[in-house]
């Protein structure tokens, strides 16, 4: 016989199961980073992410990445259904290794940037953005 407590536990379990598919798992983020780095190790720092601490509208969140000297910057949203956001490749005509854009965030989550440096090393940074209204789908 189901007690009230069992029923609550079942409900919580179901809620957890339904929540999970909407979020990129940690491994999806790791895979995206590995695809970018080719498996090389990544050190912290060297990249600056600028974004609002609290974004009211997840449909359009301004984000700037800056990694002086980098040849490319990978931008990920760790809590979106798929983590990929953009890759910026900087060439000889670039005046800096900085770019700003506007992104969709499905909810409060970490924005991650990984920079590829000219010597083949990689550096990364993460910044939490709190989202009031998510920006995924209708």
């Amino acid at each position: 016989m189901l007690t009230r407590r069992d029923t609550m536990a079942l409900g919580l379990g179901a809620a957890a199961v339904t929540l999970v598919p909407g979020m990129a798992s940690a491994s999806a983020v790791d895979e995206a980073i590995a695809a970018f780095t080719g498996g090389a190790s990544v050190s912290e720092g060297g990249v600056t992410i600028t974004a609002p601490e609290i974004a009211e509208n997840g449909n359009t969140v301004p984000v700037e990445v800056d990694a002086p000297g980098a040849v490319a910057i990978l931008l990920l949203a760790a809590g979106n259904p798929t983590p990929g956001v953009a890759t910026f490749n900087f060439s000889e005509g670039a005046g800096s290794q900085r770019a700003a854009t506007r992104i969709r965030l499905g909810g409060t989550q970490d924005v991650v940037a990984v920079a590829k440096m000219p010597d083949g090393s990689f550096q990364q940074a993460a910044l939490e953005v709190k989202v009031t209204i998510g920006g995924c789908g209708g």
């Binding site: 449909n59 359009t60 969140v61 700037e64 949203a77 979106n80 259904p81 798929t82 990929g84 956001v85 953009a86 890759t87 910026f88 490749n89 900087f90 060439s91 000889e92 005509g93 670039a94 005046g95 800096s96 900085r98 770019a99 700003a100 854009t101 506007r102 992104i103 969709r104 965030l105 920006g135 995924c136 789908g137 209708g138």
Partner: protein, 108 residues
């Protein structure tokens, strides 16, 4: 999409060797492929998947875009201008269309 329209903002003037800030925006839905219409059918993905900028024949930036880029994709970046030249901005649509905008820039 018939309403795709690029907009570019460049500084009024610059001197040789300056780093100038360029702001670009193109009107586009950036349909993620995750949404459903009223009858429950998935709306197919259609986004701008690549953006490039060239100045005076040199590539400045080459960007890959995913569905997590907001509608009407906005990109801001810096360009080193050694002399006068043409800016060429190119956006690549999932449907195969390519939108190009060219603007000449005087360095005085």
């Amino acid at each position: 999409m018939s309403d795709v329209r690029p907009r570019i903002r460049l500084p009024r003037s610059a001197k040789a060797g300056d780093v100038v800030e360029v702001k670009t925006l193109i009107s586009h839905n950036m349909e993620t492929g995750l949404r459903r219409d009223g009858s429950g059918e998935v709306i197919p993905r259609q986004i701008i998947n690549r953006f490039t900028c060239e100045y005076a024949g040199k590539t400045v930036i080459d960007m890959d875009l995913q569905p997590a880029i907001s509608a009407n994709p906005y990109v801001e970046f810096d360009v080193k201008v050694e002399g006068s030249g043409d800016f060429v901005f190119t956006w690549y649509d999932d449907n195969g269309e390519v939108y190009t905008e060219t603007q000449s820039f005087e360095v005085g």
